[in-house]
C-alpha cells in the first residue's frame, strides 16, 4: 500500500482531502435532492390550485354546453397547463390543446370514485419532464375526472445547472482542502518533529539530557513524559552497567597484576625450591581467585540474559539444604563453627535444582565465612501453601545499617579488607538475588551489629498435584 509508505503528515493530508471531497460531493447531491423535492412540491401545489380553480370555474356553469367555453377560456389563460376533463364514464368532455389522449384509463377510473388526487412524474412525447395530477371534482353536471399536467423542465434544468456548477468547483476546493490539511497536520505534528530530533540527540553517550515536556497536558506532553521516563530507565541501567563493568574490570585487574608480578619477580633471580614453591602457591591462589570471579561473572551474565536452561521441576528444598550442609560441614568444623538446623519438613518448591543449590550454598558459605571461630550458624524454615521461607542466620559481627540495603548489589562489600581475606568476590549475594528473583521469590537480610545476620529467602511453594 502506497499510503502506508507516506509519512503521517501526508497521510493526514490525504485523509483530510478525501474526507472533504466526500463531504462536498455528498452535500452537492443532498442539495440537488432537496431542490428536486421542493420543485415537485411547488409543482404539485400549482397543479392543486389549478384543479381547485377548475372546480370553481366548472361549478359556476349552469348548463353543460357552457363547459366547453369555460374550459377553453381557462386553457387560454393558463398556457403551460395541459388538462382534460372526462365524465365518470370515461367520456372525454374537453382536452386542452397539446394534451395527448390518455394511454390508459386505469387512473381515471380508480381516482374518480374516491375523490383523491394522484400525482405522477412522466416524460412527454418530446422528452420533457412533466408532473401530472389526476383528480375528481364535483360539478353541476356530475362528478368529473380532471387530468392536468405541467412541465418541470425549467426547474430541473436549473437544478442540474446548479449541481454542475457545484461539481465544477470541486477540484479547486479539493486542492484548497489538501493545502489546508497539509498546513494543519504540519502544525499539529511540529512538536512531534521537535521530539524526534531531541530523542535523536539523546544518544547512548548523552542519556542525561531530556526531552522538553510541553505544559499542555495533552497527548504530546504525555508522550514526552513517557519518553523521558523510558530514557530515565535506560540511563539508570546504563549507569548500573557502567559501574558493574568498571567494578568487574577492577576486580579482574588486581589478581592479574598480582599473578604477573609474582611470576616476573620469581623469574628475576635464582631461588630455592621452597621459594619457587611459595611463588607457585601465590600464583595458584590468584589463578583460583580469577577463575572464581570469571565463573561468577558468567553466572550473572547468564541470569541477566535469562539464558539459563531453567529446568522447572518440583524440588525438595529441605533436601537441597541437607546436601549443602553435608558438603560444607567440614569447612564449618575447621572454623569451629556450630551448625544447627531445625527439624526440616518436606518443603517443595518449583525451580532449577542446580541454581537453587547455588543460592543455599552461597548463603551458607557466606554465613560461615563471616562468623568468627566458635560462632554459630543455623538454618530454619517454614512453608505455607503459598510460600516457602528459608532463613540462614549467624551470630557473626553483623552488617552496619547503612550497608544493609546494598549487600545484594554487585561488587558491594561490607568490609573490603575482610572480604579480601575471606576470598569473596562481592558477587555471591548478587547472584543469589538474581536466581531467587528468577524463581519468583524474594531475598532480604536483617542484621544487628554485634549480634548477627539473618538472610531470608522466600520462594513460591510448589502447587500440590491433586
Amino acid at each position: 500500500m502506497l499510503i502506508r509508505r507516506l509519512n503521517i503528515r501526508w497521510r493526514l493530508t490525504l485523509w483530510f482531502g478525501a474526507a472533504m471531497i466526500v463531504l462536498l460531493v455528498g452535500r452537492s447531491f443532498w442539495i440537488y435532492f432537496m431542490m428536486e423535492r421542493h420543485m415537485i412540491m411547488t409543482t404539485d401545489a400549482d397543479l392543486d390550485s389549478n384543479l381547485d380553480s377548475l372546480e370553481v370555474e366548472i361549478g359556476r356553469i349552469s348548463a353543460a354546453d357552457e363547459l366547453e367555453r369555460v374550459l377553453t377560456n381557462y386553457a387560454n389563460n393558463n398556457r403551460g397547463l395541459r388538462f382534460d376533463v372526462a365524465t365518470s364514464n370515461n367520456d372525454t368532455l374537453f382536452r386542452s390543446p397539446e394534451t395527448p389522449p390518455p394511454v390508459t384509463n386505469k387512473f381515471r377510473s380508480a381516482a374518480a370514485p374516491k375523490l383523491e388526487r394522484t400525482y405522477s412524474t412522466n416524460l412527454s412525447e418530446t422528452g420533457e419532464q412533466r408532473r401530472a395530477v389526476i383528480g375528481a371534482i364535483a360539478s353541476p353536471v356530475g362528478n368529473l375526472t380532471v387530468r392536468a399536467s405541467r412541465s418541470m423542465q425549467a426547474e430541473r434544468n436549473e437544478a442540474q445547472n446548479f449541481i454542475v456548477t457545484l461539481l465544477a468547483t470541486l477540484p479547486p476546493v479539493a486542492l484548497a482542502a489538501l493545502g489546508v490539511g497539509y498546513l494543519v497536520s504540519a502544525r499539529a505534528l511540529s512538536p512531534v518533529d521537535k521530539m524526534i530530533s531531541a530523542a535523536n540527540d539523546i544518544t547512548a553517550n548523552r542519556l542525561e539530557k531530556r526531552i522538553d515536556v510541553p505544559d499542555t497536558g495533552d497527548e504530546l506532553s504525555r508522550l514526552a513524559k513517557t519518553l523521558n521516563e523510558m530514557i530515565d530507565r535506560l540511563y539508570k541501567s546504563f549507569e548500573e552497567m557502567r559501574r558493574f563493568t568498571a567494578d568487574a574490570a577492577h576486580d579482574l585487574r588486581t589478581p592479574v597484576t598480582a599473578l604477573r608480578t609474582e611470576i616476573e619477580v620469581s623469574l628475576m633471580a635464582d631461588h630455592t625450591v621452597e621459594e619457587f614453591r611459595s611463588s607457585m602457591q601465590t600464583a595458584l591462589d590468584e589463578a583460583i581467585n580469577l577463575s572464581r570471579l570469571t565463573e561468577q561473572l558468567l553466572d550473572l551474565s547468564r541470569e541477566d540474559d535469562g539464558t539459563h536452561p531453567g529446568l522447572l521441576e518440583t524440588l525438595r528444598l529441605d533436601q537441597i539444604v541437607g546436601s549443602v550442609l553435608e558438603d560444607l560441614q567440614t569447612v564449618a568444623r575447621q572454623k569451629q563453627i556450630t551448625v544447627d538446623t531445625q527439624q526440616m519438613r518436606p518443603w517443595t518448591v518449583t525451580g532449577d535444582q542446580v541454581r537453587l543449590r547455588r543460592v543455599v550454598m552461597n548463603l551458607f558459605d557466606n554465613a560461615v565465612q563471616y562468623t568468627p571461630a566458635g560462632g554459630r550458624v543455623w538454618i530454619e524454615g517454614q512453608a505455607t501453601p503459598e510460600q516457602t521461607t528459608l532463613v540462614i542466620a549467624d551470630n557473626g559481627p553483623g552488617i552496619p545499617a547503612d550497608d544493609l540495603p546494598h549487600i545484594f548489589d554487585r561488587f558491594r562489600r561490607v568490609d573490603w579488607a575482610r572480604n579480601r581475606q575471606s576470598g569473596g568476590t562481592g558477587l555471591g549475594l548478587a547472584i543469589c538475588k538474581s536466581i531467587v528473583e528468577a524463581h519468583g521469590g524474594q531475598i532480604r537480610a536483617e542484621s544487628t551489629l554485634g549480634k548477627g545476620t539473618r538472610v531470608i529467602v522466600t520462594l513460591p511453594t510448589a502447587k500440590a498435584i491433586a
Partner: protein
C-alpha cells in the same frame, strides 16, 4: 645510597611480590595494608617514595595522599589503580600524585616508574643545592 620505598596495598599477594622484587633490586621496602597504617609509616619513617593503591579499606588512596600533602609530605607518590578513568587521573593529580600506574601492570613497569621518580627527585635536589 639505598632508597626506602613504602608500599600501601591491601592485596597481600601483590604486596608480597612487589616487596620481594624491589628488595631484589636493592631497595629497602616498608609495607602497609591500610591507608591509615600507610599514613602513619610515611609520617614516622623517612621514606623516599610511596607506592599507594587507591582502593583501600577505610580511607582510600586519594584521601591518604591529600592528608599527606596537607601534612607537608613532599616525597614523590606513585598511585596504583585498577579504575583507570580520566576522573581518577584528575583526582590523583589534584591530590598531588607524581605518577600514575594502571593495573594490570608488570613488575618492570613499576620498577621503571620508581627509578624515574627517584631520578627526578635527585636532579631537583642537586639543582636546588647548586642554586644555594
Amino acid at each position: 645510597m639505598m632508597h626506602r620505598i613504602l608500599i600501601v596495598e591491601d592485596h597481600q599477594n601483590l604486596l608480597r611480590s612487589l616487596r620481594r622484587g624491589l628488595e631484589t633490586h636493592g631497595y629497602e621496602v616498608l609495607v602497609a595494608g591500610t591507608g591509615e597504617e600507610g599514613y602513619l609509616m610515611a609520617t614516622t619513617h623517612d621514606v623516599d617514595v610511596i607506592v599507594l593503591d587507591v582502593m583501600l579499606p577505610g580511607k582510600n588512596g586519594f584521601e591518604i595522599l591529600c592528608d599527606l600533602r596537607n601534612a607537608h609530605f613532599d616525597k614523590p607518590v606513585l598511585i596504583l589503580t585498577a579504575k583507570d578513568s580520566p576522573d581518577d587521573r584528575q583526582r590523583g593529580k589534584s591530590c598531588g600524585a607524581d605518577a600514575y600506574l594502571a593495573k594490570p601492570f608488570g613488575f618492570s613497569d613499576i620498577l621503571a616508574q620508581l627509578n624515574e621518580l627517584l631520578r627526578q627527585t635527585k636532579t631537583s635536589l642537586s639543582s636546588a643545592e647548586q642554586s644555594c
